[in-house]
């Protein structure tokens, strides 16, 4: 009970004065749980994926945010980190992976390539101009070429914030 301010989502919880238990709404409890256990997909497309891997390693330790459980199947994932250049040949694959993820699902576009095509924007026949041009809604954009692991962690925290502010927790 003493460390209640330290846990993520502490603002959602109220302590019963003098009691050994606390009160919350099931809605905010659900959102807190969702935000604290974002399982990403094992899915890297180009150089930015290396940064995502570095973020998973001990120095940056994405596990601190409950997002270190990279799943090898889209059916067990909550968040797709589009990490890298989207080649035209990859379009269908990405659409299919996204469609296979169960709701609620979130998308992080990591790096300039995944946002808009990045350095491959001009004069390139083989690169898709960003995740949104595939018709996939992106929740958090993280610019950089490549973004540092801290940027991915920051983006992850922004996504957690976004989830906690959602109107409809059962989305």
């Amino acid at each position: 009970m003493v460390v209640i301010e330290k846990i993520p989502g502490a603002e959602l919880i109220r302590k019963v004065p003098g009691g050994g238990f606390f009160l919350t709404t099931s809605e905010s409890f659900l959102k807190w749980g969702k935000a604290s256990s974002l399982w990403p997909m094992t899915f890297g497309l180009a150089c930015c994926a290396i940064e995502m891997i570095a973020t998973g390693a001990p120095r940056f330790d994405i596990d601190r945010f409950g997002a270190g459980v990279f799943r090898a199947s889209p059916r067990q994932c909550d968040v797709m980190v589009v990490a890298g250049t989207i080649c035209v040949k990859m379009n269908d694959c990405i659409r299919r992976l996204y469609a296979q993820m169960p709701e609620p699902k979130y998308v992080i576009a990591l790096g300039n390539c995944a946002i808009s095509g990045g350095i491959f924007y001009y004069d390139t026949y083989s690169v898709t101009k960003g995740t949104e041009s595939l018709g996939i809604k992106v929740d958090v954009f993280i610019p950089g070429c490549p973004p540092r692991p801290e940027n991915l962690l920051f983006g992850l925290m922004k996504l957690q914030e976004k989830i906690r502010r959602e109107k409809d927790a059962a989305r």
Partner: protein
């Protein structure tokens, strides 16, 4: 063997083979590619490793370039073949060097050169239903965003 010696050895055997001015690349007429390949694959030259096949679009012609290396003798040679844009057919060397199989598919995919006698001439990098040959100078496609020239 030095590059000029290799070039001289090949030209002594095949009079139709030329040397490119200023380099030691050898220029082979496209009818002779199979016999020249057969000869240089085996001893005494023994070019047993085909590194790379690539192309250059020079607008009036397409050059197909073969880069060969001899693992035992530690020397290499570069062969060029000039194809006119009207006739992009050339004999496949995939029966001589196995690595030519995928390399020729790549040149077919990007330049549209047809390798006759290839066992499986499909696109390799682009999707199978791709239209056009992207590394040709005159290639364009609606998704291509031209860079503004400043």
């Amino acid at each position: 063997m030095r590059p000029d010696e290799i070039s001289a050895a090949i030209r002594a055997k095949f009079p139709q083979v030329k040397e490119e001015a200023g380099t030691n690349y050898i220029i082979v007429p496209k009818e002779s590619i199979l016999e020249v390949s057969e000869y240089i694959k085996n001893p005494p030259l023994s070019f047993d490793n085909l590194h790379c096949i690539t192309g250059i679009d020079r607008k009036e012609k397409i050059e197909v370039i073969y880069t060969l290396y001899s693992i035992g003798e530690h020397y290499g040679v570069t062969i060029k073949i000039n194809l006119t844009s009207e006739d992009l057919n050339i004999a496949s060397v995939s029966a001589i060097w196995k690595s030519a199989n995928w390399l020729e598919r790549e040149v077919y995919d990007l330049f549209g050169v047809i390798f006759s006698g290839h066992p499986d001439l499909r696109r390799i990098l682009n999707p199978y239903d791709w239209q056009g040959y992207p590394l040709r100078k005159d290639y364009s496609n609606p998704q291509l965003i031209a860079k503004p020239r400043l």
